[in-house]
């Protein structure tokens, strides 16, 4: 093995990744909190009321970032699952395991805020439209992933079985993303895209971007905290974990 490949895989070992994960968590937690405060202030106080929806539209500052993150976290989780299957790397599976509850949380938030927004905007909490239904399926996929992990006692078998499930379920993510374009549904299309000028006021876009990055950084920070706990739990008999426990006492 040459020097370059040793460097590349250095942080694939829980012992060397543990301190790094702690640093990453701290680095991302602070901007996440700051951006959330700024984004909520911009969105709830500074941004003007909507001409049609009044103040009810302000729920998008929670709803849209949560919906984006619910899909994005699943893609990242499936990526870690693919890595863990192909490279047989323990840490990749631990990352996927750490991301699943955060993804499920964002999915629940997206569904919940969507229901609260749907009541004033459409007159109903829930409609069986393509995007809502597929987002609900995404929640079931997260829950199924966690339930399968939970049902298998051997952690290595749990890693690999749940990785296969996550990859099979990944087919659902493009369906959610494109559902609004493919089917003519109740849920509105995207107001913001990378390729066209936003169809909303600049201050709203700024608030939405702040909230999106807040949600993203929060997801990173909390996944790092959780992966540290998972590493300690699963490697509790390893020398490095023992040394860490000894140093803490």
């Amino acid at each position: 093995m040459d020097a370059a490949s040793i460097n590349w895989f250095r942080f694939a070992s829980p012992a060397s990744f543990f301190p790094l994960a702690g640093r990453i968590a701290r680095v991302f937690a602070i901007p996440a909190a700051l951006l959330a405060v700024i984004g909520l202030w911009l969105g709830l106080v500074v941004a003007p009321s909507d001409a049609q929806q009044g103040d009810a539209y302000r729920i998008i500052f929670i709803h849209v970032p949560a919906a984006w993150m619910s899909m994005f976290v699943y893609v990242v989780m499936a990526g870690w699952c693919a890595l863990s299957l192909t490279l047989n790397a323990r840490l990749s599976a631990m990352m996927a395991q750490a991301l699943a509850p955060t993804g499920a949380l964002f999915t629940i938030i997206a569904l919940w805020t969507g229901a609260l927004w749907g009541r004033p905007a459409w007159g109903t909490y829930w409609a069986w439209d393509a995007r809502m239904t597929s987002e609900l399926i995404l929640l079931f996929l997260y829950l199924g992933y966690m339930a399968l992990r939970h049902a298998i006692d051997d952690p290595r078998r749990a890693d690999r079985a749940s990785a296969v499930l996550a990859l099979v379920g990944a087919v659902n993510v493009p369906i959610i993303y494109f559902s609004v374009q493919w089917w003519n549904t109740l849920h509105q299309g995207a107001t913001i895209s990378l390729t066209a000028a936003p169809k909303m006021a600049g201050i709203m876009v700024a608030a939405l971007l702040c909230m999106t990055f807040a949600a993203w950084f929060y997801a990173i920070a909390v996944a790092m905290v959780r992966v540290r706990a998972i590493m300690l739990e699963r490697e509790k008999r390893a020398a490095w974990a023992g040394a860490l426990a000894g140093a803490a006492q």
């Binding site: 239904t133 399926i137 079931f140 339930a147 049902a151 078998r157 690999r160 079985a161 296969v164 099979v168």
Partner: protein, 235 residues
Amino acid sequence: MNEAVARLASDAGAWPGLAWALRRDLKLALRSKAELGVQLLFYAIVVTLFPLGVGADPALLRMLGAGILWVAALLASLLSLPRLFAADFADGTLEQIALSPYPLPALISGKIAAHWFTTGLPLALLSPLLALQFGLEGPELAVLALGLLLGTPTLSLLGAVGAALTLGLRASGALLALLILPLYVPILIFGAGAVDAMRVGLGAGGELSVLGAALLTAAVGAPLAAAAAVRIALD
């Protein structure tokens, strides 16, 4: 020695493996015909429960019929999934199958095909008869049967992945439902949608095409995923 290994490898192609597994599982299934009959009865009884539950209004039943038949097909498929691997797993046959020189995805494709021939196919053939209870008519019956013929193999393929993942686990039946039913949802939507589109006079070509596309995609991907899952379960 090397020659023998080479000959073995060339004999052990994908198609002979698939054919062998298909023949074996069909033979086993046909030796317990009562079990197959019970599954069809389950389908018929679940379908019959709905008119008793929602009332016998003909217009309402005609509207709900396709969805009820499809949901019952999903449940019948789910109920029959453990038969795919569980018995072979319990007596060690599955391990021998995995050790054979044939490619495991091909063997599993054969098992899935046998599963479909003994569950999905009879169910699809029975469904027009049951659909008469709901007042569906000529072309709708044809679309229902065609949709089930295209959709139930996909159910067996997706279900095989779930059945392999839950081999030997605690409460594997309920877990299997949680893992697999969300993946069945698109098939349900397009399958029932095809009949509804026919009923309101839109034509079912689009929905049936989607079902066909899903079948082709699942036929390529699902045996590979199921083979990976079987190897994980056997480790």
